[in-house]
Symmetry: C2
Subunit: 146 residues, 2 copies
DNA sequence: GTCAGTGCAAACGGTTTGCATGTTT
DNA sequence: AAACATGCAAACCGTTTGCACTGAC
C-alpha cells in the first residue's frame, strides 16, 4: 500500500534501473502504451506519440519497442496478415484476431492452458501464447457475413 | 474403389472443373506441393518448381497459390516472423512453429477443438485453425537452450 | 565530454501489381 | 481468335539499418 506511482512512471523507472536514458520519444511511446486499452501497431503508436510530442520517427518507435521487449515490459504478436501489434505486459493471455474486421481479443490464460499442456505432453512443445494470434471470425462479422 | 488418379491429377482436375487453365507452371507448383511433406514457403515452392520446369517466376507462384487457396485446395499460415508457409488441404489440423529452429508441426484437430469450442462459447469467435500458427519452443530447442 | 538515443533516408524481405507477351482453350 | 496465364520489373508495406547529429547523463 505505498503511494503508487503512475503506471507510466513505473515503466520509466524500470528503464532507468537498466541504465537506459529517459527521452522525450520514450516518454511519449510509454504514455501511448499505458493509455491504450487495445493492441496497437507500430504505426498507430507512432501517430499517437506524434500527437503527444510532435516528431517521433517510426524507426525510433521500433527501437523503443524493441528495448521495451528486451526488458520484458512489452510484447508483440502477429495477427494474420497485418502488422504486428504491441502492448505492455500484464497478466498472461492469448490473442485471437478477426480476419474480417481485424479486431484483436485477449483470451484468458485458462483457455490456452489446456492446449499448452496438451502440446507439452504430446510434442514436448512449449507454447508461447503471446507471440502469435490465432485468427478466425468474431461474433459480429460471423453474423454479418453468413 | 475406382482406379485412383495421382493426387497431383486430382488437384489439376479440380482446377479444370473450375474452368482454370492447366499450364506448365501450375503442374510444377502442384507437383511440388504434392511431393512436399513439410510446409513450404513461396520461395521454396518457387525454387523447387524451377527444378522441375526451369523458369517459374515468384509472382506466378503467388498467383497460383492464390488460385489454389480460392478453390480451397491449399492453405497458408503465418509462422512467427517468417514468411507464410503453404500446403495442400488434407485433414483439418493446426500449426505450431518453433521460434528457435522454425520447424512447423501439425497438431491434431482434437487439440484445437476444445479451445475452438471455448472461444465460440465465450466470445462467439469462430476459430480458423489453419491461418495462424502458434509459436513456442520445440522439445529439441528447449533441451538445447535451457 | 561522452555515449546512448534520435531523425532521416536508404535498404530490406516478402508480397502484389501493371503491363506487354505468350499459351491454353 | 479470345481469354486467360505468364514473366518481368516496379511498386508496395512493414520493418531494419547506416549515418551524422542531438541531447541525457
Amino acid at each position: 500500500m505505498n503511494a503508487e506511482a503512475t503506471p507510466c512512471d513505473e515503466v520509466l523507472e524500470t528503464l532507468r534501473l537498466h541504465a537506459k536514458r529517459i527521452t522525450e520519444p520514450k516518454r511519449a511511446v510509454v504514455q501511448v502504451l499505458v493509455d491504450a486499452h487495445e493492441h496497437l501497431t507500430a504505426e498507430e503508436i507512432t501517430q499517437r506519440a506524434q500527437v503527444l510530442r510532435g516528431d517521433v520517427s517510426p524507426s525510433t518507435v521500433y527501437r523503443i519497442l524493441e528495448e521495451l521487449e528486451d526488458l520484458s515490459l512489452a510484447v508483440h504478436s502477429h495477427a494474420g496478415h497485418a502488422a504486428a501489434v504491441y502492448h505492455l505486459t500484464g497478466q498472461s493471455h492469448g490473442h485471437v484476431t478477426c480476419e474480417s474486421c481485424h479486431v484483436t481479443f485477449e483470451v484468458s490464460s485458462d483457455s490456452f492452458n489446456r492446449l499448452a499442456r496438451e502440446l507439452m505432453d504430446t510434442l514436448g512443445f512449449e507454447l508461447d501464447r503471446h507471440h502469435v494470434a490465432l485468427s478466425g471470425l468474431c461474433a459480429h462479422c460471423r453474423a454479418t457475413i453468413h
